[in-house]
Amino acid sequence: MDKLARDEEEKLIARSQHGDVGAFNQLIEHYQPIMYGTVYRLLGDYDVAADVTQDAFISAFKAIRTYRGGASFRAWLLRIGSNLACDHWRRVQRHPTTSLEIFTNEDTPHAFGTLDTLALTGPEGNPEEYMLTQELQEIIQRGLEELPLEQRTVIVLCDIEGLSYEEIAQAMQTTLGTVRSRISRGRARLRTYLQQHKELLPRNYRLTNSHNDG
């Protein structure tokens, strides 16, 4: 789907604020991939993520009048989604039986393959072009779930969904400084977790100091 032009989006928001469900549904269609993606990466369960995503959009429609133009609508939506996801996570922590769902139907983490079969690099050996195997994806997801909720949220929003620091600060209702420090700590922590499985990490990684990584 094409990116919504800003004025087109503003019109849809205005109509939604007057109760137009059809207009809001167009917004949903545009934002549901990032909403679902965010919630899934926060929770690690496809079905639960679907439920929470649906609830997030319902809550967003109820609260649409509180959205003030000028702020990022995407950040506003993701604030609702990430809050609901974090709330769900905390509730599940109190009843651990539910969290076992995350580990059903998955390969054991000890079935190591060779490095070459776990990740492939693109033609230039560029790290961004990794194609991650299912196993490696699962390990990263588990590493994410080991992070404290706030670090996990910034990592998902920044490194997975590509939001800017400003948008993340809006989504988490906090300052840029806090966002920076959570991101750095989250990355460091995840790095440490992945080190424990370093046999699985792609071999073809090259250090380049002059590399510009977006």
Binding site: V21, R41, A50, S59, R65, Q137, Q195
Partner: protein, 253 residues
Amino acid sequence: MSQFDQHLTIEQLSTLLDDQPYAAAQVGTYRAHLQTCEPCQSEFAELRQTVSLLRALPQPALPRSFVLPADFSLAPDELENEPTQTIASDIPRPIALAHRRRHPSNPERRRTLWATMRIVSSLVATIGLFLSLSGLLSGIASIHLGGTATSASSTANNGTGKNGALITPEATKATPVTSSHNQPAISTQSNTIPPRASSNPVKSSPPPWPTILLFDLNTSGGRFGLGILLVVLGSMGFSLFKQRTRSRSHTHN
């Protein structure tokens, strides 16, 4: 300040990975340090790889569309007009969602139960209020009328019927004045006398009341005490059942 004397912090290294305008000035300094510091290079490489792996994670496929039904509508009071932390408190739905599939009516039943208990509590409190008022008023009335009554009943012990006659002529008629049993005798007898005691408003009252929970409802003190107890219980119950429904929807981030 020279960055070459000390290693870069995790936060500084992390900054190098993002193109953030705020850090443009410092980025040059950090890179310069990296050129010559191997431990920092190694740490930077690991962080960089971590971020690369995260960026390479695929977007999960949408299991379905999340659009709302065309006839979806909110009651006027459901639309929020205030900037809010109430977004988080809209959570009765997500909480119930997990349970909803298995026990669809539980939240509803429980809400009705809490509502009923609230009503019962407020009734209890109201009854208690009336009881205590009744006790209080008759207590006040008896203080006015029967300051003499108490002194009369204590002096009646001494065998003089004179003061006793001020309150209950019937009592003294009915009971020969004896020394130690007069007080209880008089009060008991005066309670059974009411139909005959037309001149005594304090004692002319409805038929005898029972004793509940050690509170003798025949006495104003007993009524007052029980009344206060019921008011307290009723208010506690009311606020207790009120809070429960709120805390159900109360979440925090």
